[in-house]
Amino acid sequence: MTTERMDGGRALIRALEHEGVEVMFGLPGGAILPVYDPIIDSSIRHILVRHEQGAGHMAEGYAHATGRPGVAMVTSGPAATNIVTPLCDAYLDSVPMVVITGQVPYAAIGTDAFQECDTTGITQSITKHNFLVTDPQDIPRTIKEAFHIATTGRPGPVLVDIPKDIVDPTNPRSEMVWEDDVEMDLPGYRPQVEVDPEAIRAAAKLVRDAERPVLYVGGGILKARAAEVLRELAELTGIGVVTTLMARGAFPDSHELCLGMPGMHGNYTAVTAMQEADLLVALGARFDDRVTGRLEGFAPEARVVHVDIDPAELGKVRRPDVAVQGDVRVAIEALVAELSDGGTGEVDRSAWRSRISGWQERFPLAYEPWVPGDALKPQYVIEQLRDATPADTIVTSGVGQHQMWASQYWTFDYPYTWINSGGLGTMGFSIPAAIGAKVAYPERMVWAIDGDGCFQMTAQELVTAAVEDIPIKVALLNNSYLGMVRQWQEMFYEERYSEVFLSKEVPDYKMWAESMGCHAIRIDDPDEVDSAIAQANEVDDRPVVIDFRVAADEKVFPMVPSGKSNSELVVPEFQRDQPR
């Protein structure tokens, strides 16, 4: 065992290196200054962001793409509050992330010192756990615990708040002795990975007996790296799969058993199959209200098998008939073994399968075709982009109509190719998340599909991308509106448009993007879409922004109006006379 005297700041960076951190995203300031000095000599790449929210979302993008924890480091006070949104985002989407915040010297805590804020208090309910370290000797252990908590069980964000005095080499309070091996001390933290064989047998029985089963797959499948075994389960049983917004790519969209995305803007087949099912096998999914619609009307005849590593999800929203607590990959492996040994059942599901294919034929995802004189269709742009990019392209998105169209019209055939903000619905997510993903996979193409409202919230990170040589590409679906809100006002507020129009003239996105060091293109005409994308795909020495000026009145369909049951799904006008 090596021991070495050092200060808390160097120990902090060394502890991060020991965790295998390759890259961190951040921005320095007074309280965290002493920790920035040892970064100069560290193997860790630091990416200097333009706003701390960007650092948080970049860390999230990195974590989504790789499965490894994203790391961000910022100073105290306003920097800590700037990273609150990404923390909450990561909390709701179970993203492993470690955020380090500077804090005023320990003796000054509670005095309203300059740039003091109660960071652990503010972030308590939006982190999986947080720490305020008061002794430099505790730094290595705390960092180890933070990474352990962030990445095990149900992943999530962990924040470590570090008072300046314990990392400042000029302060004797920062002296500590580095030891390579520190023991974690977490007596109350014991995530359960293994599953109860009894519960697996009970689940298998429900699967065998079901006439109308659906595999309801959530983001937990990706967190558990269970896409492969999920496919085995689906193919073994022949049961159709829906992938939620957080799980797009966990099961190939082009697979014949793929039913698509359920939920408020899910496709007809996925929503209706869940609604009519007699068995839902929920795998790492949490019965979010955007999936269930009005809860009382949700899947009224379905029995439920619910698998989750977080016991609090079991029965939180819908009472399961069989609850399986544990890692969803372990659970599916056990279920596959059980069904291989004991058979998959004798039930004839041909009637169910033909109902499903009937829905698929009558209600495919579709939009009103473009006719001359129409403005550019946003859905068309996504289809062209999809077809012109490599299969392993990573797509990130903002929040709004463009996000829903991206999730609907892209074909996700590989896990970890779709990165978005589901639970919190954070506008501005796409550009920094794309940067985080591109840093992780510089050789892959990363496209951010963004809205004009979102773009204006975090576009400055394109400067980061340009300066740090992270050539992401942005497809800006510019409809001049806060389009999703406009859609609700059109449909539910009698077309009374209140504060949703942005502007058709400003900003000039092309000029703005160019001024940030990007290659920029503006497109109004459908005929120019393909060549613009081809041009963008050629550029690899800087970020690219294509400003697609798209129709403002296009709506996202299907849609379950808020508060309505999923049986009241609204389909596009041209499908409304189809028999349901």
Binding site: Q124, L132, P187, G188, A312, G315, K316
Partner: protein
């Protein structure tokens, strides 16, 4: 749920937590954020200085007990949670109360006090300070009895509890 059996509306949880700063705030914050209602909450160190024990009485009309327990258990500093079953636990609460007591009424008050098993802590010209330790229901009753005399100040601790000894002489 039987509304005439209030002991089923309130459940007592004994929560062992790491003795670290901010733990009480985490527990209280969780209850607030998840909209769980607390009837009472008492916290104190245990025989092991590394841990504290929180006795919390939850109102299960605000959320199912199962959810409360599972969400609490997710707090990293929570080490153990035990539910104490009504009828299989010993619950106590301490009340300190100052009540108006002109000399001619004192005997009467002391009679109530003796029956409840309380103590006189101090006497003033026109007031008395009393204490009572007992099951929460007895403390409630005694408080009701005192009210007509005029309660000047009152402080209750909230309940603390332990599981009954199975073979206890109780």
């Amino acid at each position: 749920m039987n509304v005439h059996a209030p002991e089923f509306r309130y459940h007592t949880l004994v929560v062992t937590v790491e003795n670290k700063s901010g733990v009480l705030a985490r527990v209280a914050g969780l209850f607030a954020r998840r909209a769980f209602n607390i009837e009472s909450l008492a916290v104190a160190p245990t025989d092991d200085e590394g841990f504290s024990r929180i006795t919390v009485v939850v109102d299960v009309e605000s959320a199912p007990l199962d959810q409360v327990v599972k969400q609490l258990d997710k707090l990293v500093n929570v080490v153990e949670i035990r539910e104490l079953h009504p009828g299989h636990s010993v619950e106590r609460e301490l009340m300190l109360v100052t009540v108006t007591a002109e000399p001619d009424l004192r005997d009467e008050i002391v009679e109530h006090l003796d029956r409840a098993g309380g103590k006189v802590l101090s006497l003033g010209i026109d007031r008395m300070m009393l204490s009572l330790v007992g099951p929460p229901s007895r403390v409630d009753e005694f408080e009701d009895l005192l009210r007509p005399y005029g309660i000047l100040e009152l402080q209750r601790t909230g309940r603390v509890a332990l599981a009954s000894l199975d073979d206890a002489l109780d």
